[in-house]
Symmetry: C3
Subunit: 271 residues, 3 copies
């Protein structure tokens, strides 16, 4: 397996990307990174369990007095806009400042920006603070970008903002504005589990703490969740059991399985 | 199957009510209603998963700046008084106002009003804002109504407040002050899972978004939870596994199963 | 079985302690104590389910207006410092005051005091308010006590503060400064489930409500969690399934199983 550092900066093949994702997974287990999460009240427990299962250590305080210290001792930060209230807004200001000052990668998950205009405005402001990656779904992309997601529109969005984007859907799309990967893993039942996307965003943050190429880190996280999810689906009877089984599968997943199960294709960044 | 609209306003039989509940379940899956939930911190994740499993889409922000926009784009509202703090109190004011102005049905779940007098006072005030349904347990009813629940006392309570009531217990009681149904489905293990009643209240809200007869909607929700719960219990070894299995069963439940499993009897609204 | 009251104040054997834990478990099921929990947002749902599975009834409001009434009607209080914000800080002041005034036992879980100095300072202040027991892990002990945990250092810490201590780790250590028990039950997968320790602390509070000897109550709670956890691990494939199975096992655990599975040894309180 070539090292991801060798891979970065040259032409990746889909198999290279899967191999790089496997290396990211190995480094998660070895380095056990701390990921501080500002996330919504619905997602906190499941997100913490996803991070633990994958090999990271979550923390979640929102207290303005404490969050600076927590972020400073973490290796990555997640900002998820679900159930976004005054406390989370204050916490986000301090946390992102701390991350920027310390050179920590941070991820934005603009949950439900399609439901309240204030939240979309706030998300657009946050993007100026240079998240390394943005993970979102189709409705959220449409609200932020004022247009439907296509490989070309998503990669233009990423290029203009100098960030990676992970767009979740039936097929996930990952791009940094130059490279565009489509990941066909996952299972429809995953959309019936609350916080599945939120937890994937936290895993993007974890992967960024061990992989400086944001395109590779974002793709690795979505591939890990997708493969774990489809393996979990095979053992599940519905949305309750898949939510449990995906934690088991994340914990038990190894690099060779990830590579052999990966369904990755590349698209062009522009037409 | 007769349509529920034909059923409303005439004499329902228990089997009619089960058929109407099956039709409600079908409409949930077809219309995928959005349900905004102000609910307690313990219940948020499980409630979201119950709504998703049954076919609805939850949102849960409490932010005063956003909640009006969220409720305005939803089809029903839940107000659950668990872990009720300043933020939830402010959110409730805005959310109920928005629901009333937009003609959205809303449901009150007066959790633990037997534990703090302030909470009971607040619940009584909220009832003046005309919830379409109130779902609660025996201790909560006793605290609100200053008397033990019987078919007669519960239906008088509902009649006086022009609301439907869903009283959970070994047998659930549903009434709108005129009609009184006893639903004998469910399983004792369900009482050992936190937020089971809270999630049932959220499902009442979901059902109200697709069924204008509050008696039918409330009965449908409690029947759906009861049948899913007893099917889940048959596959479970305790409170952990039933909480998972009920999500699977909610997702997999169909109308004919609901009708064939229903244990509904009717009582008189007054003695 | 000798009664725990006979056991207290005389020399306990490890088997006596296991028998006393079994008696505590029986009393939990008989008395169904109410435990009010100030705990972090990540842990609330799992903690409530652990308490219900073991036989107690949780409540979790943080509202300054209500929490006094809730604590006054409870039999024990937990203060967990995870996700500690202004609301939890205000709630803690009122709740601990109420507990002290009413003679209720309360437990401190100083989550992540190793991550933010402000939190460690606050925890040290709280200890002056005489928790009956403190449950924590190695990093948290090291931050509070300014030294690594050993049987001697932990028992000195407990003795100096007139409290019991439950130190979680590969082997749990329980001491009141005089007696020191090492509990070798549990399973490594438990550390991959968020809030497992937090829930154990809540169970310490529940046990204190039915057992006045804080050493016995703390050991009982950690033994119950450890035995339930290792039985759950035997049926699990990873951190998702063990989190479910431990709730089943807690619900189904009986005294004789607890005694027969207990791995308890005693150490000396000082060298």
């Amino acid at each position: 397996m070539r090292s991801p550092d060798a891979v970065v900066g040259q032409q990746l093949s889909p198999n290279d990307l899967a191999q790089a994702a496997a290396a990211v997974l190995d480094r998660l287990r070895t380095r056990v990174p701390r990921v501080h999460c500002i996330t919504n009240a619905v997602a906190q427990n499941f997100t913490a369990n996803v991070l633990l299962a994958a090999g990271a250590v979550p923390s979640m305080t929102l207290s303005g007095e404490e969050i600076g210290a927590f972020v400073a001792r973490a290796q990555a930060l997640l900002v998820n806009l679900g159930t976004f209230d005054r406390e989370r807004r204050e916490a986000t200001g301090i946390a992102v400042d701390t991350a920027v000052r310390n050179g920590l990668p941070w991820v934005l998950d603009p949950v439900f920006v399609d439901r309240a205009e204030q939240r979309a405005v706030y998300a657009r402001d946050l993007i100026f603070l240079a998240p390394k990656s943005i993970r979102l779904n189709h409705a959220e992309f449409a609200a932020l970008a004022a247009g439907e997601p296509t490989p070309a529109s998503v990669s233009a969005f990423a290029r203009d903002r100098t960030t990676a984007v992970g767009l979740s859907g039936e097929t996930d799309l990952v791009t940094d504005g130059v490279r565009v990967a489509a990941i066909g893993n996952g299972h429809p039942l995953m959309a019936k589990v609350t916080a599945m996307g939120c937890a994937a965003s936290a895993l993007v943050a974890a992967c960024l703490s061990v992989e400086s190429d944001a395109f590779v880190a974002t793709a690795a996280a979505l591939l890990i969740v997708g493969v774990a999810g489809e393996r979990a689906a095979a053992k599940s009877s519905g949305p309750g059991s898949i939510a449990v089984a995906i934690l088991d599968e994340l914990h038990n997943l190894d690099g060779p399985t990830l590579v052999s199960r990966a369904h990755i294709t590349f698209a062009k960044a522009s037409e």
